[in-house]
Symmetry: C2
Subunit: 418 residues, 2 copies
């Protein structure tokens, strides 16, 4: 069978499995999640052996050490994956719940019922744990899933999917509800992105190059996240010790992730009092500061920022700092250079808090809290499938509800249109 | 300026206008809708004169009479457009409303706030009234809109958009919140579909060819509707006089629209009693019946249905009829041949009503009501932007809420992540 036929066959099987998955009751899906978790732990020796094949190949090909680290499946990583599934089991099943209901003048009772999306394709790089996390969330929402991991993790992903399939079959669910596209050829991705008849959604997870490739080539809707250029704005009259804690946490707590602060905006009235002490604290934590001309007056050790710094996602201990005349300037800066990801205001002013929340066009907008809270777990959605920075269907962290849609359900007693 | 630069400039202007639109309060948007309605009526002579240019060109080019009919703007059509805007004015403004809210253990108050999508591109054929209806709905939800109508309606659409822009400016809203791409070249559409940086959503309205073209070429998310192959299933034990009324209404009330019934499925136990009388009534109304072999036993004047009849959207006084052994067979038939649009069951059985609603994977599923209720106005959403048969973002009729998305809004008092 050639690659195109193989991909089409996979997509057809997934569609078929998705119909069975959609009709599964919650206890059956939960039972499957527990069985998958147990089987992953029971088969850890097998998983590690298959993972070793990928690791050997990666070393031969001279893959960088951090990449090899992310590729490695240890007992601890396998236990984490299993525990992740047990957490997903505890989440609320959205399928079949009614989100709204109303009565029409003619007596029709109209509701919107949550239903699975159907078949979800996930295209990702490196970390094989995505195989298990993504499959678990998709199942909880009653979907079938097709996985296309990086070619460097091919054997690991195949082994994980095989174990998941086995556990699904044990639980009486369709084993084809999870399938891996396990050929190394890139063209397999193109074929996958053309199966709009069978696949409802594509979620790419990885670097910007991968995501742009998927967006440009997909005939299927895509939920994506390009980058996080997140801002904290320290307002005039803000509690400056609170501002310091929030800015420090937003930048330093985990600088390599998308919801960390990249640019700090400070109202000019607070700059002299706030900036020197804040900058010293950043300096002590190893944060390099790139400042606007006025910032340099307050922070002598800062480097001058250039235009390219404002839209930059450093993902590192580097921070751009700009002093602004008022909140309007801060909001204009965010609109011009931000990525619609996460912005926070530190303020004591009611009206500006309200206006910032309303006017800033980002997936998560906060008042007096760290940008690091843009995360499904932190916001109370449970496990997440990443953060969407485009607006259609989902904007912000995507939990299990975002892997469903709603249909209209109408109860009548003989109504016809006149 | 070449076409590509012109389209990019239009998209940039729309993005800019969308930021102003998003911040507009409800009374200002409502005032604009009323002003547009008034100006359309006041300028009806001008609109008809511009429309005449399109009509003359259409006659020269030999356009078919029904097409010319749809293209013609009379005083009555202009009044309808104006009244449509007055109805949209009465709808609830979704922007700024909170759809959910909860508290996290650390005291963070998390909500989801409805916000406009941003810039919506609408690509449509023929009817110039779409220009006004679509713009009105997009404005109500705080969006800017770019319109690309059929080249046969170019002068009409340009005139309508010009009037809308003037009324927007009178109301203090950005006049670039509505723009028409008014070059005849097809390549303008391709350029439009590539402006993912500035445009958030594309809605194509027209024939299947147009929609497929848009889906295949768009880098921007698309909300679409291919076709409506709608079914009514008459269950064992159904109230047969209710079934007759519902089936007749579903097929005959307006056969040329997407929510009319195309295939009637009848439980074998009811066929002998139900079909002969039902078929006579259809025959009297001019409906041609194409039946499965068993149907032919009950309806001597039916033609035999062929495989190609089951997925067919007749949009005409033609009906396919199939007798099924049970509801499972009906659901399998719908899954195999339906278009995920609208399906109805006529039944007296509680459990089967419940199962049909749950298991049928269509945008609107009804019990004991006509398929003709799949319509934004009929279901209580008010004016609509068409019916989506794909699942992402919107599934079913798209009202003003579907022209928005939600962002997360988080209120803290100094929370940081530990």
């Amino acid at each position: 069978m050639n690659i195109e036929s193989m991909v089409i066959e996979t997509a057809k099987q997934a569609r078929k499995a998705s119909i069975e998955m959609a009709e599964c009751a919650t206890p059956q899906k939960d039972d499957a999640l527990i069985r998958i978790a147990g089987l992953l732990e029971a088969e850890s020796a097998y998983i590690k052996a298959e993972n070793l094949k990928d690791l050997e190949r990666a070393r031969e090909m001279g893959l960088a050490a951090p990449m090899i680290d992310r590729l490695t499946l240890t007992d601890a990583v396998i236990r984490q994956m299993a525990d992740g599934l047990r957490e997903i089991k505890e989440m609320k099943d959205p399928v079949g719940t009614m989100t709204q209901t109303w009565i029409r003048p003619n007596g029709l009772n109209v509701s919107r019922m949550r239903i699975p999306l159907g078949v979800i394709g996930i295209i990702y790089e490196s970390r094989p744990n995505v195989t298990v996390d993504a499959a678990g969330l998709c199942f909880k929402a009653g979907n079938a899933v097709i996985l296309r991991g990086g070619s460097e993790a091919l054997e690991s992903n195949r082994a994980l999917a095989e174990i998941i399939s086995r556990a699904l079959a044990d639980a009486g669910l369709p084993e084809k509800a999870v399938q891996v596209i396990s050929v190394r050829d890139r063209e397999a991705v193109n074929y996958l992105l053309s199966q709009e008849e069978y696949i409802d959604l594509i979620i790419p997870r990885g670097g910007e190059g991968l995501i742009r490739f998927v967006v440009e080539n997909s005939k299927i809707p895509v939920l994506k996240h390009y980058k996080g250029v997140c801002h904290v704005y320290v307002d005039k009259g803000a509690d400056l010790s609170m501002a310091e804690e929030i800015c420090f946490n937003s930048k330093v707590q985990r600088p390599g992730v998308c919801n960390s602060m990249e640019t700090m905006l400070v109202h000019t009235a607070e700059a002299a009092e706030f900036l020197p002490q804040m900058a010293e604290r950043f300096k002590a934590a190893g944060v390099k500061i790139k400042g606007c001309p006025e910032t340099l007056n307050h922070v002598p050790f800062a480097e001058p920022a250039v235009e390219a710094d404002w839209p930059e996602e450093y993902l590192d201990l580097i921070l751009a700092v700009k002093i602004v005349d008022d909140m309007d300037e801060a909001i204009r800066h965010i609109a011009a250079y931000g990525s619609a990801h996460t912005e926070s205001i530190v303020t004591a002013d009611y009206q500006r808090a309200r206006d910032f929340l309303r006017r800033v066009d980002s997936s998560v907008v906060l008042v007096n809290a760290s940008t690091r809270f843009n995360d499904g777990g932190q916001l109370g959605l449970g496990a997440e499938m990443g953060i969407s920075t485009s607006k259609l269907h989902a904007f912000g962290p995507m939990g299990v509800d975002e892997l469903t849609t709603t249909k209209f359900v109408v109860l009548g007693n003989g109504q016809i249109r006149t």
